[in-house]
């Protein structure tokens, strides 16, 4: 029997553990520093906003782990010795393993901004970040969020829920215009402003100015200086693998792995946000930093370890988010800027903040991607269309088969006719 040890109790490590347990009864230990139990990182914002407590974010009740024979260790791994197969922990006894899974996730990026180490300046990734954010933002009358990504807009919404006036600095000329086509991006700009967030597009952070060690104002690239009590830095995340330096485990930005999640060291695997594929398929990312990819990778790794060895298949991309009140789902591939080879069918209703885009390849009229805003789409149906390379006119005609909105919701018109139909 081999002892399996997993560092990191996030979605990737936990899913791997569950699939290993389903197949057998090897001893499994999960070590994590952040929390004793697995919780949903995606729900951090809802704890701060008072929609849930920490307890509500745990996907499994606390008895689940012992019932399934998974030991939990709260500890910080500071060194791995793979020659003796031993982990060394801060404030804990060393732990030996036969197979090791590194699933340590990410940490917020910092770019060396002047003043970024002042008090009340932070990123948002962990429960501890949330706790410091709680302390830093109580009683302040202005906050600043830097970085126009998914976590940035979540932070803006969090601050908004507490009635804190918020400055939102976004480097791009329109929110997430590196991912979203112009109409979608514009819709989100409007949504941010509708919530009275001071959104400044095309504006960067120049300097964080402090007094007595704590932030007092920020200077922006357009020369403005704004008094502020808190700065949220949300310019992306990167693998949290500093503790692997000199361990002999090869890393680049993340822990380098092949399509079986194997590192260069035998019996050591890496999975989830912290893993970097050595040579991913063309068009796929080297590092996947999403919830569902963590789950999907964890499942594949778990199955591989119990002997059902198959290479990881990334499948058809999908994702979702929520921008204040607007839900967003995407399936397949939608490029931010139109190119010659791609056509686009667009339906939108600006009043109700709903939008649906279907992109297709001009060469053979097959659908390549969906973007849905304020519209819910059936994952299974979209995937079947993308997988089966359905013709765009068939998809447009039968779009109601993919609608997943609650009953009585106004249907998207058949053939996608609307107040503002655009077909480019």
């Amino acid at each position: 029997m081999s002892r399996i040890v997993i560092i990191g109790n996030g979605i990737a490590g936990v899913t791997a553990a569950r699939f290993i347990r389903k197949a057998g009864d090897e001893p499994i230990t999960i070590i994590s520093a952040e929390s004793e139990h697995f919780f949903s990182r995606t729900a951090l914002m809802y704890i701060y906003m008072g929609h849930m407590t920490y307890e509500h974010t745990k996907p499994y009740e606390d008895w689940f782990w012992s019932k399934n024979g998974i030991s939990l260790v709260r500890g910080w791994v500071n060194r791995i010795d793979h020659t003796t197969k031993t982990l060394f922990l801060d404030g804990g006894r060393p732990i030996e393993y036969d197979k090791l899974i590194i699933a340590v996730g990410s940490q917020p990026n910092r770019f060396g901004w002047p003043g970024e180490n002042l008090d009340n300046v932070q990123g948002l990734y962990s429960l501890q970040d949330l706790q410091t954010m709680q302390e830093a933002t109580s009683g302040i009358d202005h906050a600043t969020v830097v970085g126009g990504g998914l976590i940035g807009i979540e932070m803006a919404e969090m601050l908004h829920s507490r009635g804190i006036p918020t400055l939102f600095l976004v480097r791009e000329n329109s929110y997430m215009d590196y991912l979203l086509p112009a109409e979608e991006s514009q819709m989100i700009n409007n949504e941010i402003r509708r919530h009275h967030i001071d959104l400044r597009l095309g504006t960067e952070l120049k300097e964080i100015i402090g007094s007595d060690g704590s932030v007092s104002s920020v200077r922006t690239s357009d020369g403005d200086e704004v008094q502020t009590g808190f700065v949220g830095l949300t310019a992306g995340v990167s693998p949290a693998i500093d503790f692997l330096d000199n361990s002999g485990i090869e890393t680049n930005r993340g822990v380098l792995i092949n399509e079986y999640f194997e590192t260069n060291v035998e019996d050591v695997y890496a999975v989830g946000d912290c893993a970097e594929f050595r040579d991913p398929e063309i068009g796929h990312k080297k590092i996947e930093q999403l919830w569902y990819t963590g789950r999907r990778q964890g499942k594949r790794l778990g199955l591989n370890i119990v002997g059902k060895k198959t290479p990881y298949d990334k499948g058809i991309f999908f994702n979702s988010a929520k921008f204040f009140t607007i839900e967003y789902q995407t399936y397949g591939h939608i490029a931010a800027s139109a190119d010659e080879a791609t056509g686009s069918v667009l339906w939108s209703d600006t009043d109700s903040r709903r939008l649906l885009r279907i992109n297709y390849s001009r060469a053979d009229n097959t659908v390549v991607g969906f973007n849905a805003f304020g519209v819910r789409l059936r994952h299974e149906q979209c995937e079947a269309w993308l997988h089966g390379r359905a013709q765009v006119e068939d998809v447009v005609r039968e779009i109601s088969r993919a609608l997943f909105d609650p009953e009585f919701t106004r249907k998207i018109p058949g053939g996608l006719q609307s107040s503002s139909p655009v077909s480019t």
Binding site: E34, Y46, Q128, K299, G315, F318, R376
Partner: protein, 452 residues
Amino acid sequence: MLTNPLDSNPSFQLTASYGQFSKVETVGLAGIGVGFLALAVALFGAGTIAPIPLFAIFITGVAGGSLLFFKRYSARPAGIQNDNIFFSPNLWRGAVAWILGVILTGFYVLLYWFPGTMEHAIRIFDPLSWTLRDRPADQWLMYGTFYTLAVLIMGVRAIIKYRHIPYQIVRSVSVTFFQLVLAFIIPAILIRLNEPELYFSYFWPLDFDAIWPSKVSDLSSSGSIGTFFLFWAAALSFVATPILTYFFGKRWYCSWVCGCGGLAETAGDPYRHLSDKSLKAWKIERWMIHSVLVAIVVLTGLLWTNSVTEGAILGDFSSAFARTYGFAIGAVFSGVIGVGFYPLMGARVWCRFGCPMAAVLGIIQKYFSRFRITTNGGQCISCGNCSTYCEMGIDVRWYAQRGQNIVRASCVGCGICSAVCPRGVLKLENGPTDDRYNGPILIDRDSIGVLD
């Protein structure tokens, strides 16, 4: 560099101030206060002296004040408005919740067993009672008025709060309508016409004595309306219930028609997250609710045996059983605990643990129905909003995160899980019964792959 977070305690509870009220909202709260003050003044004696002005102040204060207070929802962009709920002393078992719980529970105790203590308050309902029923008010008319007012006012709140979701609007209009018309106006008019007081929206076994021999003989001897009611009750209990539940699930009743459900969905909406989601609670639920069902079926059978044999078999026993059931289930469970504990255990305690009608509907829903909540492939991010806000304590996330449809006896089809889900994962649907349990069969080479 990521630092070692070991010395922190992750089970922290955040705090924030909940009570930031705008001017209009404050005026609204004051109005509600004045309304209840009028009721208190009435209770201490003035109700007998000045019923009309006190009634007017009570209604205007409470209804008008509430409408002003609902600016809280209407002034914000339409969308899920759950901010700061877990910081509220009212909504998260804080001091206000305990005080309210004691007041509500106490009110039910007085109402059932010591109505005389509320005599002066009852008097302010005389004008209304004369108008509707042509006779003076009693404690039940007062209670019915409170109940209907609560459903109406909080129904308006639900419609404003969930105005971006047509399903919620239609459903809220439906429950409010059934409470107002079928459970308040029609029974009152029947009394006025010297007919028996009949509630066309409650059936056996919830209306537990609806088909008891005593009731049947009373009604069949009372004239054509009584006889019609007997047919109506029997048809709804035994014909309409299975058919409607087959097509739509138990929601057609529990969250669209029923008065208990009506109160829960409107007045109880702010407390829906208080339900217990643990596996243990689910076990207790199944034991309790099915025990109550067995009890009422056995009791009804006994009473009929007793009536047919003219008391020869178990006569005294069955009437004692009937009295016990009426006291323990009809009064203590559905009233005192069911509503009194709203601020502490959520609004569906009775519906989940006690209601025999829900038990029957649940069995049909689970085994013979087209209703299910479909899970949308792999979109679930396990955030927990759905489970948190399920008033029936269903751990919706447990199913959603493994790509499995939700087919649960207790689901009342309120649709709130689907509403609060930030990723569009859940859809209430009626559809073919085959593979309703498993959801779509997804193959692993696609990226959805059912997780378990």
